[in-house]
Symmetry: C2
Subunit: 485 residues, 2 copies
Amino acid sequence: LAEVEDLSRVIYLLDWDQQVLMPRGGGTVRAEQLATVQKLAHELFIDDEIGRLLDELRPYEESLPFESDDASLIRVTRRDWEKQRPVPTDLSAEMAKAGSEGMAAWAAAREAGDFGAFRPWLDRTLELKHRYIACFEPAEESYDILLDDYEPGLTTTEVRAVFDRLREVIVPLVDAVATDEAARFMAGPFPSQAQRALSLEALKAFGFDEESFRLDLSVHPFCTSLGIDDVRLTTRFEEGLESLFSSMHECGHGLYEHGVAPALERTPLGTGASMSLHESQSRLWENVIGRSLPFWRWFWPMTQAAFPEALGGVTLEEFHRAINRVRRSYIRVASDEVTYGLHIILRFELEQELLSGRLATGDLPEAWNARFEELIGTPVPDDRVGCLQDIHWSGGALGYFPSYQLGNVVSLQIWEKVREALPDVDEQIERGSFGDVHEWLRENLYRHGRKFTTAETLERLVGTGIDPEPYLRYLQAKFGSTVAA
Amino acid sequence: LAEVEDLSRVIYLLDWDQQVLMPRGGGTVRAEQLATVQKLAHELFIDDEIGRLLDELRPYEESLPFESDDASLIRVTRRDWEKQRPVPTDLSAEMAKAGSEGMAAWAAAREAGDFGAFRPWLDRTLELKHRYIACFEPAEESYDILLDDYEPGLTTTEVRAVFDRLREVIVPLVDAVATDEAARFMAGPFPSQAQRALSLEALKAFGFDEESFRLDLSVHPFCTSLGIDDVRLTTRFEEGLESLFSSMHECGHGLYEHGVAPALERTPLGTGASMSLHESQSRLWENVIGRSLPFWRWFWPMTQAAFPEALGGVTLEEFHRAINRVRRSYIRVASDEVTYGLHIILRFELEQELLSGRLATGDLPEAWNARFEELIGTPVPDDRVGCLQDIHWSGGALGYFPSYQLGNVVSLQIWEKVREALPDVDEQIERGSFGDVHEWLRENLYRHGRKFTTAETLERLVGTGIDPEPYLRYLQAKFGSTVAA
């Protein structure tokens, strides 16, 4: 298992390098390298011997507390083995190769704003997903099988119920508070070097340290972990202060990975539990903390000093209102906390339609644009800021998007617990002190790695399943009051 | 074989990333990742089935011309298989792990100038080398087995004969021309950013392009190739203009790797033939071209413009003399062309003594310093610029150093042929035109990859074996005349 885990991390490095550094010419052979490592990792893992050992270990597992490292290791490995075992190794390698080639094709197509150039890769992704789904017993909905890769045990029906409830509240909230008025100072200038230095100030206060972290540039920001002490964040410098918030977002992922107990390193438990728990952490550090007034009471003087030309005459309150402005905009990763969920609902629906064949890939831009206008209330000017904006489908990550919004939901379930445990958390944040928050999250979430599913984790932490109400209360409180102010 | 080759390149990436980017904390798990990939690559390659296929293919191989791709593939694969097959996979993995850990330890020890901190790693390297050597039939000298990893078929006796002849000429030449007088303008300032930009000007004229190459920073400059179109060069900014020359050096390696015929990619033939041929190319572009007067007739105006403060009042002739000044200095990679060979002879002798046990690792600094003063004629102030200066032993590369000086020798054998083929090569270089030289080298050397050994390559190119005389003539002509002038 340690060797399989090594190979997984090697795949992460091959992928990180491709997105961050690789000369364009390296793409063809890189896809082969990824496919070869994936093939060997898959072969090693689905071996009969692992199945036999898992059977043999069942009595031992049952003799241990559920939450022990060993019982968890056996339980989670069995779940992984049962999910990977039915998939032919060739298909597994082909998916890795297609993902690598697809990401390269997407980056070029996005740059050119040419959906036609990307469409064959989307077709290929879908064809591979159909073959993948066919490896398993039919589920209630095909999409369940993809979703399960990111959210073990969660069903499409459950997600739909949460999203329906969100939609019910968010759509009228957007209608009530969205504005086109822009604070002029948000146009900058925000020189990249100063943004980078400022981002690192925030990240270091959160827990980023150069012995264990890096921050680089990529077309699409992401976080990957090559080990508990080798965590790679990326960001990009586009308009406004996006880079600062995307850095805090990726840092949330990174703190989770960095906080896994060292005893779990090089085991199947040595990473985050699910994508929604992961996103709960990225969104928590980016938004719940990073766009809060207490945070900005601390961070505002540094920010103003970093961008005297843009922010010299601006007040903290004006700035805080500007970075929390609700706006009907195109880009998910740069969108405000209120409209964000609608961006996800759009993708969740389109993914299901693409998968079922109800939507042909050739019709995607049109469907995207029509649905976008319906949901978010503004027309999309071109595919670059429309259906080509995200990397996920190019790499084969279909079924991933719901995690983002589930992460928002879960982040507030967790944050309510943080507040209970640390009644003076706002005062701590105002002082730029994040140690207690970080420690609480590490103790209660990060260190467990993959030992518990999302449902198990929430049961342990808050005693319920995924519950949208804390998140909706937060949105109402924060953005209702912003409007009032 | 393609999969084995993919894994080799993955190892190169793990290593490159470790040296260039990895946060220090990632070292422990990185060593495990390297060991795992090495183990799998070794297991895949030494499989009985490969041996059986090689046997089965013998009649086919014999039916083909020696120089055909297929015959060469079978021949070289058999040689590799016979060299790797006797080595236990565990030892192979252990060497990979020790190399990764050793490099991290060396970087820290070098920074601290602390040989004591590095010594246990050197002991470990030697112990592993003894176990490695014991896998094979005894050779005339144990060192032959290590040398053969970098120079297939070459023996220690042959190297010694070449080096004895070099020593005979170089020692009195150094006595005649070495000087301590330094051109004051060589102290700079040479700001790093300007050095980088200037280096890229030279490299792009040589054939570096951003679709297929990168240039990064590392503690010890090196070149690695993750594919024909993914070639990574590194450099470092230390004193003077070292970075410019080290960039041209690594670019020579890179052009070789980039010039391998695409048909050989993902085969055991898809890289340079031997380390001496590789070094012949790095030293050719760095020195034979990069320190020549014709090159500087072209490059001087750009250089002067890049460093107006340091070079404003300097003439081309003064500068050319300064960069070719023969000096008794400590650092191999920054040394002039005349003393360079003595740095290598020192290492060649010490490696043999360490390996045989005639020299204990604890006595290395003393032995290094004494031998250095004897050979190069100046005392070594500390281990940082003494026996800790090179990365090679830390990574397990014992037996590699001779290649550097053999490369110098071979570079002139090849360069005489280039001159015959391109009588106006000096005029081309003066115009900054390197296309014909690059094309000649690609056609006659680079494209063949590993099809031919060093001896076979030289036989095809110049009709003899390794012959030091062209190189010695070059040194006499270039440095004799510098003195006279």
